[in-house]
């Protein structure tokens, strides 16, 4: 019998600490598979964020570092500039990247730093207990917006991919989702493409992955994926936002 599919060796044997049905696990796997397929394990350095994915350094079977909250692109900049032959990626959530780390990601992007950013957007702060994030949808209930996010009071969600794609620095920016198998396959292609951009020294690449947070959204894993498809995709349209030749 031939193996059709099994867990990639680029993930360690440590069980993921994520809640049941959390799609962080899927995204970890896609990143690991892309690194494995491109054969860049020995020269890849990952930068873990603060947030639910803080323990990513335990799960990826390549060199990993942990950055202060939001500062992963700054740490990645240092790693890449010291040895440009390394492949450097950050793995950040929306609370980390779009809020406290908004300055770091914007300036890394506009400088065209030759790094790859995996941006996991689940429209909420997961680790701290489900507070409103910069990406929380209008009307979405969180612990700090119990009556739903009111844009007249709290402003509107930030579309990070569209915002960064207006800059001249980035080489590749795409938004994908992991709510079903078809979209998981497309997400994998985008993540692989982002790493290829870095390998070919094209410049900054970012893949925004829409992700589910069943625990803090107060849903079953199945309901959460349906909610993602019905509510997040209209707010955050999928597709390639920028790609240089």
């Amino acid at each position: 019998m031939a193996v059709v599919y099994e867990k990639t060796k680029l993930l360690t044997d440590k069980p993921l600490h994520y809640c049941p049905g959390c799609t962080h696990g899927i995204i970890h796997r896609l990143v690991a598979e892309a690194i494995d397929e491109l054969g860049i394990q020995e020269k890849t350095i990952g930068i873990a964020p603060v947030g639910c994915a803080v323990f990513a350094y335990d799960y990826f079977n390549c060199d990993m570092m942990e950055a202060a909250h939001g500062r992963a692109p700054a740490v990645a900049t240092g790693c890449k500039r010291v040895n440009p032959n390394n492949i450097v990626f950050t793995y950040q959530g929306d609370g980390d990247l779009a809020s406290i780390g908004a300055a770091e990601i914007t300036h890394a992007a506009t400088r065209g730093e030759n790094i790859t950013v995996i941006f996991v957007n689940n429209a909420i702060y997961g680790m701290t207990g489900g507070q409103m994030a910069p990406t929380t949808l209008p009307g979405q209930v969180t612990t700090t917006s119990p009556y739903g996010r009111d844009p007249s009071l709290c402003g509107y969600p930030i579309r990070v991919s569209e915002m960064l794609s207006t800059l001249d620095g980035p080489a590749y920016i795409a938004r994908v989702s992991v709510h079903d198998v078809k979209h998981i396959m497309e997400a994998k292609k985008a993540i692989r493409k982002a790493f290829e951009m870095q390998i070919n020294r094209k410049g900054f690449s970012l893949v925004e992955v829409l992700s589910a947070c069943p625990t803090n959204w107060g849903m079953t894993p199945q309901e959460a994926l349906k909610w993602l498809e019905a509510n997040m995709i209209p707010q955050y349209p999928l597709g390639v936002k920028k790609e240089v030749e």
Binding site: M1, A2, V3, V4, Y5, E6, K7, T8, L11, P15, L16, Y18, C19, P20, G21, C22, T23, H24, G25, I26, R29, D180, V181, I184, M185, P214, T220, P221, Q222, L225
Partner: protein, 67 residues
């Protein structure tokens, strides 16, 4: 015929794999694992077509598919 190998001790019983199985062969088990979850199990293994949708959907990579 295809064969699924499920790491039942790592499974968290989220059931996302069962949702995407085109043959509806997967269901949560009655027993619980060491973590206290009802792990996923396959009924009628002989009907599995080895599409690996379940394995690609699984957040915890607990499913190995052979064909």
């Amino acid at each position: 015929m295809a064969r699924l190998t499920i790491d039942r001790e790592t499974c968290k019983g989220c059931g996302l794999c069962a949702e995407v199985c085109p043959k509806h062969l997967l269901a949560l088990s009655r027993e619980i694992n060491a973590k206290g979850y009802h792990p996923i199990g396959i009924e009628q293994q002989d009907q599995c077509i080895g599409c690996a949708f379940c394995a690609r959907m699984c957040p915890d990579a607990v499913i190995k598919v052979e064909k």
